[in-house]
């Protein structure tokens, strides 16, 4: 009898833990959800990369046929951008922003939860396409009119359209949330120019998300209308221009790459000062350059279209703006170097990844600025030179910075340290294998190897480097598994982390690891940049906040009320994805599709009204 009760109680406890995560509105839990979901998708995207490299290891290979290859590289790109780097950045926004600005949560906790669930469901929708043998296959950029019905009659493009639209809603909701949170929920005294750089970069990224995504949304809507309702947006025989798709896509697509890199810039700007034991060099310049990169990013999009034939005037204008945007980026590199210069460097895994980032991102930036020259780009475009460029900035840049951020902030998120010795091994294997895989792509590109080809003839002079790159890719894959092992081992039995293991500078380190649910027992008052450093080593008397936050008394925290959990965000996200899935079904000719769409509308409406009317204090 006692056993049955214990099992029942155990079952109830298990169900309530799941329910707790399904209905959480706590930004820290949501950040953890984003993190593990993205890391899982990273493994899938990586697997697709290994498939690509296996197919390209030798000439005339037969591992993947051409149509499958198209699906593999399209999904590799789409997954890495939308299901890995963006949500990994989100994981850090979610966990860190309230902590860095001295707040107890984000401005709209339920909208935050909705963003996660909508992202997850959109991601599952697009991944489900594999189950139907209809994975997106027209590139991550889906150029019309390849993607119109006559040339893409299957469901592949429909999964792509609707998966991206659902995830786009999630991104815009998230951007609204973080924009308002950063503008409006800073602790007293935290003026904008006293915010941590990661918070600044998140602010700029949020603005970019808000202003760039609508262009993609409109392009996808127009493509969807063409495919489903017979409109003529990308129908050349009706006088349409397929270049319109490219403009709409790249007006989104270029700011998107800054959305991918600015948060990592922010992470590096936090890691380097901590392990140089001195403040960030030229903080105002780092902030202003981040803002100007955001602004300029809307003025360079057609550098993705130099070979389309826009004409010498547009090409020259965009070449100029593209060269201009390299300037604020370069400013940041010099500021990071200036931070390291003369510092008492602590060599550990986060610092190594930050240093590796500076080197690898600079290489990617150099190849990028080469692309800015139109005649040079005529040679490089659509070749492996471009593949080299963007992997240097996205893997050598974003991913390495994110890895550094994971080693740096893992103690804060989980209360345990990641094993640093294993981390340093992870870093060196990553650095070497990454360069093995991607550096020779510069050579292959110059030697004429085009992108997106499923195989190549022997005797083109490409055999050796392709094979070598495949070896590099597999070593890189192994290093990721090694990292996963470190994460799992450290979660279980890693060294317990104190509140401030690194003697760091920003407010998130002033509270326990992991933080209590309310973050700050007493909201701190900020008097300078590097607010926590000032608290620790400044000359002012310790405040109540400092005395209470590490070890709060029960009476202090008794009055703190936090937003209650809610299932409406989950419901609303479910309704949204049902609408999207129903539309894909309609594309597949299923009769119940309209029912599914209608059910989705009802569930979404029910979710939204319930959300609006439930008490949230």
């Amino acid at each position: 009898m006692a056993q049955a009760t214990a099992t029942q109680q155990g079952a109830q406890y298990r169900r309530s833990v799941i329910w707790e995560w399904l209905t959480t509105v706590d930004h820290k839990k949501i950040g953890i959800l984003y993190m593990f979901t993205s890391l899982f998708f990273f493994l899938i995207g990586g697997l697709l990369a290994l498939l690509i490299r296996t197919q390209l290891a030798v000439p005339n290979n037969t591992v993947l046929g051409p149509s499958t290859y198209n699906e593999v590289f399209t999904m590799h790109g789409t997954i890495m951008i939308f299901l890995v780097v963006m949500p990994l950045n989100s994981a850090f926004f979610n966990f860190l922003i309230p902590l860095q600005i001295g707040a107890r949560d984000v401005a709209f906790p339920r909208l935050n939860a909705f963003s996660y669930w909508a992202f997850l469901f959109g991601a599952l929708l697009i991944l489900s396409s594999f189950l139907f043998g209809a994975a997106p296959n027209a590139g991550w950029f889906g150029y019309a009119n390849l993607t119109t019905l006559p040339y893409s009659p299957g469901l592949n493009v429909d999964f792509w359209i609707f998966g991206l639209q659902v995830m786009g809603v999630a991104s815009i909701a998230s951007a609204l949330n973080f924009f308002v949170t950063i503008i409006n929920m800073r602790a007293p005294g935290m003026r904008l120019m006293r915010m941590p750089v990661f918070t600044w970069m998140t602010l700029v990224t949020s603005v970019l998300l808000l202003l760039a995504f609508p262009s993609l949304t409109v392009g996808l809507v127009e493509l969807m209308f063409d495919r489903y309702f017979g409109t003529l947006f990308f129908e050349p025989t009706a006088g349409a221009s397929v270049v319109l798709w490219q403009h709409l896509f790249w007006i989104f697509g270029h700011p998107e790459v800054y959305i991918l890199i600015l948060p990592p810039f922010g992470m590096i700007s936090e890691i380097l000062p901590t392990f140089s034991r001195k403040p960030l060099f030229g903080y105002p310049f780092v902030v202003y350059s981040g803002v100007s990169i955001g602004f300029l990013s809307f003025g360079v999009w057609a550098h993705h279209m130099f070979a389309v034939g826009l004409g010498p005037v547009p090409n020259s204008v965009f070449a100029t703006t593209t060269m201009l945007i390299a300037i604020p980026t370069g400013v940041k590199i010099f500021n990071w170097l200036g931070t390291l210069w003369g510092g008492s460097i602590v060599i550990n895994t986060p610092l190594l990844f930050a240093a590796g980032f500076i080197g690898m991102f600079t290489i990617g930036g150099i190849s990028g600025v080469m692309h800015a020259s139109v005649p040079v780009d005529y040679w490089q475009t659509d070749s492996y030179f471009v593949v080299a460029h963007f992997h240097y900035v996205l893997f050598g840049g974003s991913i390495m910075a994110i890895f550094g951020g994971m080693y740096y902030w893992f103690p804060k998120f989980f209360g345990r340290m990641l094993d640093d010795k294993m981390g340093q091994i992870h870093f060196w294997i990553t650095l070497i294998a990454f360069n093995m895989t991607f550096f020779p792509m510069h050579f292959l590109g110059i030697d004429g190897m085009p992108r997106r080809i499923y195989t190549y003839q022997a005797g083109m002079g490409w055999d050796f480097w392709n094979f070598e790159e495949t070896i590099g890719a597999f070593i890189l894959g192994a290093s990721v598994l090694f990292f996963a092992y470190n994460i799992i081992k450290s979660l279980r039995s890693g060294e317990i982390a104190p509140a401030d293991p690194w003697d760091a500078r920003t407010l998130e380190w002033s509270i326990p690891s992991p933080p209590p649910v309310y973050n700050f027992a007493v909201v701190p008052t900020v008097t300078s940049r590097d607010a926590y450093w000032e608290q620790k080593y400044g000359s002012a008397e310790p405040t109540d906040a400092e005395k209470e936050n590490l070890n709060p008394s029960p009476t202090t925290v008794r009055g703190i009320h936090l937003p209650p959990p809610s299932y409406y965000p989950l419901v609303a996200a479910g309704g949204l994805v049902a609408m999207a899935a129903g539309m894909v079904m309609h594309g597949g000719g299923l009769a119940i599709s309209w029912f599914v769409v209608a059910a989705g509308v009802l569930v979404l409406t029910f979710g939204l009204f319930g959300w609006s009317f439930e008490p949230n204090h």
């Binding site: 815009i172 924009f179 760039a212 609508p214 409109t231 947006f233 007493v522 009476t555």
Partner: protein, 207 residues
């Protein structure tokens, strides 16, 4: 209160006051940020329309089917609805909840009139041979104005919900910010229509 330490008082206060860094509420800033995003959304559709302006081969031309006086009346109705919502807010802020509800419903009614007028207008265009797939003019016209109409419809639902909430006493003058944010959205939708009306209907097409 006096028995609590300064820290406890601060903890208690910072929750009660819900002070914001700018002094403006979260909801209002979010609405402004959302409207900025929505600007880019409509901007992209308008850009598409402009790129394809006048491509009407295979179907009726704009100048053949327009009834500018009719559409002007419809536009005026929508503009009047913006005035109506301003009146509604003013009455609420002055404590007259009944007049607030009346003018809120009037705003929604004018919005519905606008939508009805559009429905009638689109039906006549359809009978004249303008469809989603008759020409690029058809595609761009219906999608652009259709999304605008959807925004109006969402606004109407929002306004009527507010009127209902007010009837239940949930919107006293102290809570006038909620309808104020709805009004921001409504004015935005109106401004977008002014731009669409000018760019789509009023600027002449080459013959």
């Amino acid at each position: 209160m006096s028995g609590l330490s300064q820290a406890q008082q601060i903890a208690h206060h910072s929750d009660e006051a819900h002070a914001t860094s700018t002094g403006i509420s979260h909801n209002k800033i979010m609405m402004w940020a959302f409207l900025a995003s929505d600007c880019m959304f409509f901007g992209s559709f308008i850009m598409t329309f402009m790129v394809y302006r006048g491509k009407a081969a295979g179907g009726p031309r704009p100048q053949d089917i327009w009834d500018i006086p009719y559409t002007s009346v419809s536009a005026a109705v929508l503009l009047l609805s913006s005035l109506a919502i301003v009146l509604a807010l003013t009455y609420l802020q002055r404590g007259n909840e009944r007049a607030f509800r009346i003018w809120l419903v009037a705003t929604a009614a004018l919005g519905l009139m606008f939508l009805g007028g559009q429905f009638y207008e689109f039906t006549t265009f359809y009978h004249d041979g303008l469809t989603l797939h008759s020409s690029l003019f058809g595609s761009t016209f219906f999608v652009l104005t259709g999304f605008h109409g959807t925004h109006v419809a969402i606004g109407v639902i929002w306004l009527l919900s507010l009127a209902w909430l007010s009837k239940k006493g949930k919107i006293p003058p102290s809570r006038s910010e909620m309808p104020e944010i709805a009004a921001l959205y409504w004015h935005f939708v109106d401004i977008v229509w002014i731009i669409i009306f000018a760019v789509v209907y009023l600027i002449p097409y080459k013959s």
